[in-house]
Amino acid sequence: MKDYWIRFRHDRLALCGLVTIIVFVVAAILAPAIAPYSPSEQFFDGLTLEGSPLAPNSRFWFGTDTNGRDQFSRLLFGAQTSLLIGIVANFIAVLVGTCLGVVAGYLRGFVGAAIMRFTDLMMAFPPLLLAIALAAILKPGLNIVILVIALVNWVQIARIIHAETLALSEREYIEAARAMGASTWRILWQHLLPHLVPTVIVYATLGIATTVLLESMLSFLGRGVQPPTPAWGMMIFESQSYFLNAPWLVFIPGAAILILALAFNLVGDGLRDVLDPTQRGRS
């Protein structure tokens, strides 16, 4: 373990990414302490006389939104929601999708086919309807968002991993390992998974950006985070049509999402280098 950490530490970029993530997480946790204002307080003078949002200024560092609320405070508090969604929901989706994809691709046969057809079914299903239905059973809010995202996003990675596993499992060294009597578990863990790690990293990191934006769509339909709770995806979505007139409302939360996803990517690449030394220096 300590060995891994030392190697990781030397990767400057990966370290940068890790620090960024820690900063985000800490900021989210300490939001009530650091935020200059309450995220839901709408200031009468937070809007111009004609009711337009204010650009960043000395009082509101990131400007105000269309209800006159401080963007900086909303960004901080929104980090709590968005980090949960981007990290946890995406993580669940990637985990489930990878497991199912590998199993389906390696075992094939009836099990594999059944899993893939189930994947087809889930994919053919509009996520919006699913969200509406779930919300009828559970109370709308963060849980629904995480559930829907996890339920919906796993199919993509399952299919990709399945395709790659199909190809990989025909390789000679897999045949050799099987011939030598290696157990299925060993083959999966030692021979297949390492080759799948790069793909998993792509989906785990890039997926953070897409899940946060998906949350906004769900909230718009009334099934996600309820106003005035801030969430980065919803903050962008609410201000989209103001983009030409008040671009900071979109740029700032958008930049936060972008930086978070990038940070995870750097960490992920670093992890890959650390875990598989044969690939060191190759990315």
Binding site: F125, I137, L213, F237, Q240, L258
Partner: protein
Amino acid sequence: MLFYLGKRVAASLVILLGVSIVTFGLTFLIPADPVAMIAGRNSTPEVREQIRHQIGLDRPLPAQYAGYLGRLVRGDLGKSYARKSDVGTLIASRLPPTLLLMLAAIVAELLVGLPAGIYAASRRGRTGDKVAMMLSFLSVSTPQFVLGLTLLYLFSYLLNWLPLGGYGSFSHVVLPALTLGLGGGGWYSRMMRSSMIEVLRNDYIRTARAKGMPEWRVIMNHGLRNAILPIIAMIGLDVGIFMSGVVVVENVFGWPGIGQLMWQAIQSLDIPIIMGVTIVAALFIVLGNLIADMIAPLVDPRIRLR
């Protein structure tokens, strides 16, 4: 091969049936009363009962589903509550523009993503790679509405190079296709890069280089062929992803496709349209996956279809 195809087609039918059942069931969880919407503000309970009877909403659920399924296999998707016109005709008239848009978007994302991914892989670790990474993350994080609006503002309003939305000619398709596909292009470039790096590690690549093959040929002949397999699988996924994307993109660009239709139907809870679009979309998604799965062994002969 035919056996495999037959199995998949049979499975697809089951899937579509499943989608129709679940969607049908879900629509009853949607808390809206279409009769009140149609009947309007001044209707009496008697009038509403009459309308409910005319639409058939007073029959028990299984009977309603059976009726729905019976009409479905005959190609009749019912009548829209709000528009009183045939859902099937409505969808049929709007489907071609959406299909065109999706196709154009796939072309756009491949044109953008693949070269970017190859470039990043060949320059890995250096500045070119880092820039490409930034750009792909940027393209994925940008909401499509914002992207579309920006492209319109820049290229249509300020520069006048392309029309401000609308439908009809090649120049109309460029910006919507880019908007729909750019995010996907980001994914493709990352996957391509990652695949290429994996492939370029292999011994046969070293052999090719040792034999004196020029680098670009190494990449194109050996690297590309092997790295493209996950890409093919991703293209199959695109239909599904685009089905959600078109809702936004078609609205921004005034593109008369089923995305617009679905959006309006969700807002007014016009259930026949929602059901109809869902079934049609599911059909194309299943089809897309099937085609992707059929193409896979052509690209990588080691995959055998069972």
